[in-house]
């Protein structure tokens, strides 16, 4: 039997966590739920407005545009991410020399700050003299307004985000690939299965959980876009790269509509959870 005095020590150990949880998790969540029914600009007293924030949200075309923008981003980013990361992981999953060098190079964009990547790609996407357009001009293809054409801007950001993060997902896939028991492949070889058959019937199902994780992490990442549009486009052109977090930032920290911004935060969270749950159902169906 443990002595009474010892029983307090575990609670002491977890006190920092509990304190932090109280302050930075439970208070924010509860206060959010309170705040969304009020109007508040920090320097004036709070005003109760019932569902006022929600009725404004329903009519706010910028918010819904930002959701659309994010969905466009995800539709391009997720498949690109999956294909590229898996392809490279498969390539790296062989006994090759210089693996370390390759891995290091793919990983570099991951660890570097998003700000660096954004500033760098803003120049590569430049209309007049950006590297991408210079390559196009070399082939006598007319220039593309990567960041200035409203229809191309968000896809450009999606490609850049893929470039930045794919290294991380390559590592994930590599780890996943390496857990597939070699015996499966050997058995398949004995049955005379070709490369693609092995891929579709052994590899893919085995790394299903990894695929799911990549999808979910990319989704959450997509809904958290901030620094890229903030630095590169300011949300334009025509608000087509406006991310929801950027819009929340604008409403909350530029115009100081705390209640409204909190409302958007709550709504966005609900949307994220819904999307992830749909993805989970989809994956479970296809398991």
């Amino acid at each position: 039997m443990k002595k009474k005095s010892k029983n307090l020590i575990p609670y002491l150990m977890i006190t920092p966590y509990l304190l932090h949880f109280l302050l930075f998790v439970s208070f924010p969540v509860l206060f959010s739920i309170f705040l969304i029914f009020h109007r508040w600009n920090i320097i004036s007293p709070m005003e109760f407005i019932g569902m006022g924030n929600f009725s404004r949200l329903a009519q706010d075309s910028y918010f819904w545009q930002s959701i659309l923008n994010t969905l466009l981003f995800l539709v391009i980013h997720i498949p690109l991410q999956l294909i590229v990361a898996l392809a490279f992981a498969l390539l790296l999953n062989q006994p090759l020399k210089y693996i370390g060098v390759f891995r290091a190079s793919y990983f570099l964009p991951v660890i570097v700050s998003g700000v660096v990547v954004t500033i760098l790609w803003q120049q590569l996407f430049g209309y007049e003299n950006g590297m991408l357009n210079r390559i196009l001009m070399l082939f006598r293809v007319p220039r593309i307004g990567w960041l200035t054409n409203p229809n191309v801007a968000m896809p450009s950001i999606a490609v850049m985000a893929t470039w930045k993060n794919v290294g991380f997902y390559i590592i994930l896939f590599l780890t996943g690939l390496q857990t597939v028991p070699k015996t499966y492949y050997e058995a398949a070889d004995m049955e005379g299965a070709g490369y693609w058959a092995k891929f579709f019937y052994i590899t893919l199902p085995a790394i299903n959980p990894t695929i799911f994780m990549v999808v979910v992490l990319s989704t959450i990442g997509g809904f958290s876009l901030f620094i890229e549009p903030y630095v590169m486009t300011g949300g334009g052109p025509l608000n087509r790269t406006l991310s929801t977090v950027l819009y929340i930032y604008k409403q909350g920290f530029f115009f100081y509509h705390m209640g409204y911004a909190a409302t958007m935060g709550v709504t966005l969270t609900a949307i994220i959870l819904t999307v992830v749950m749909i993805q989970k159902k989809f994956v479970e169906k296809n398991s």
Partner: protein, 430 residues
């Protein structure tokens, strides 16, 4: 491990102490004044403060430039939120004042002794009404203005065969077309009639749409009370004019390279700008380059003197001030006419006084700086932003429609203005 624990506690205490450095706000018997971070304004502030402290050593005034941040606006807001505001602040944008007034953060200046007499002495009654808050009090003193006008390249104008700068939209578009046809290489234009930033940033409209609107409408408001009132033909005319400029490539949509100033380099004929342009132009202009100033272009059926936007900055006293009477006395000294003459000379910015052109004290300055005269004359017809706590957002909303209509030609001007008004009303209802 006990040592580790102690170490952590000590560092936390240290951190707590590090964070507690609040500037002395609201001390009795003293006044803290924040100037802007403009070097000339700092020079002037230093001059007046030193003069004051010599004369009144027992009632000291200290000053510092507003702390550095992304924008002075943000810094002020952070100070208001944190309760670390100065007593006096001189660089507040007129459009921001109502926001702070409604939150009860500013002293109602008209409750100070002698204020009403002072302000009617200083400004036209129209200007006084312009800065009166919706609750009837006055929370700001008009301090300085920088009227927006059109600078034009005299030499280039003569080359095109004109003796006077364009006055109306039609005249302007006509000149623009002549430029487009005359200066091109391989079908690409090499010179333009003018240039304005196409950024959607909310304050960019102070240099294109807003002064045009004010000129066209004779100084109408954007917002009255809780409603947007700019949904009128003057807005549509201004949007239309600007849209045509971009659609016909009279104004370039690409950013002109930052290397050389496009105006001084002779690439553009005009620019909508303020008096600060003069100092820059005098310093960097090539030999033989001559330029002049004209009012903003107006619709063809316009008659009379055009108004313009004045980028008005005003002085406020924060409620945290413990000695408002002392602050007021210093303020009167700050705005006294002989000191203001010094201000004019040092900073080349106009005090917003009704006697700017008539007061003999200032005439010496104007004879030394004849290029400033057009601005001084225009200063009689300068309008500042409306009294509205969410004016920034209204400008932001207008900028969004501006982008869609003027820059990308995706909307007709009438539709863009209506949509802007609708969105503005949504914002104003909050």
């Amino acid at each position: 491990m006990k040592k580790v624990f102690l170490g952590i506690c000590m560092s936390l205490v240290l951190l707590l102490n590090l964070s507690c450095t609040k500037h002395g706000a609201g001390e009795y018997g003293k006044v803290l004044y924040w100037s802007s971070s403009n070097t000339d304004e700092i020079t002037y502030a230093r001059y007046v403060v030193e003069k004051w402290n010599k004369e009144f050593p027992n009632e000291p005034v200290t000053f510092q430039p507003v702390p550095e941040g992304q924008s002075s606006e943000e810094v002020i807001l952070a100070a208001v939120v944190g309760g670390t505001t100065p007593d006096l602040y001189s660089n507040m944008w007129q459009g921001d004042v109502e926001y702070y007034a409604r939150a009860g953060k500013l002293v109602a200046l008209d409750t100070l002794p002698g204020f009403n007499e002072f302000i009617y002495n200083r400004c036209d009654s129209a200007v006084v009404e312009e800065v009166r808050s919706t609750d009837g009090h006055i929370y700001q003193i008009p301090w300085k203005i920088n009227p927006i006008m059109m600078i034009y390249n005299k030499g280039m104008l003569a080359e095109l065969g004109y003796s006077k700068p364009p006055r109306t939209y039609s005249e302007f578009l006509h000149v623009a077309q002549v430029i487009k046809e005359k200066y091109k290489v391989n079908g690409y234009p090499t010179k333009w009639a003018g240039y304005a930033e196409v950024q959607v940033t909310w304050w960019q409209r102070w240099f294109d749409y807003y002064p045009l609107y004010l000129a066209a409408s004779g100084g109408k408001k954007l917002v009255n009370g809780n409603k947007a009132v700019f949904d009128n033909k003057y807005s549509v005319d201004a949007f239309s004019f600007l849209q045509t400029l971009y659609a016909n490539n009279y104004f370039p949509t690409d950013r002109l390279s930052s290397g050389r100033d496009p105006f001084l380099g002779g690439t553009i004929l005009t620019r909508f700008t303020g008096p600060w342009e003069i100092a820059h132009a005098e310093k960097f202009k090539p030999d033989g380059f001559t330029y002049g100033f004209a009012p903003m272009p107006v619709p063809d059926d316009f008659t009379g003197e055009p108004c313009t936007y004045g980028d008005t900055k005003n002085i406020v006293i924060f409620k945290t001030c413990k000695s408002p009477q002392l602050a007021w006395r210093f303020l009167k000294e700050f705005l006294e006419e002989k000191n203001e003459e010094k201000f004019l000379t040092i900073t080349n910015q106009f005090p917003r006084r009704k006697d700017l052109v008539t007061n003999k004290l200032f005439s010496d300055y104007f004879s030394r700086n004849p290029l400033m005269l057009p601005f001084a004359v225009q200063a009689r017809h300068v309008i500042g932003p409306d009294i509205c706590p969410v004016l920034k957002e209204v400008f932001d909303v207008i900028s969004q429609e501006y982008e869609a209509c003027v820059v990308y030609s995706k909307k007709k001007p009438a539709a863009a203005v209506t949509d802007a008004a609708k969105a503005a009303n949504l914002v104003l209802m909050q």
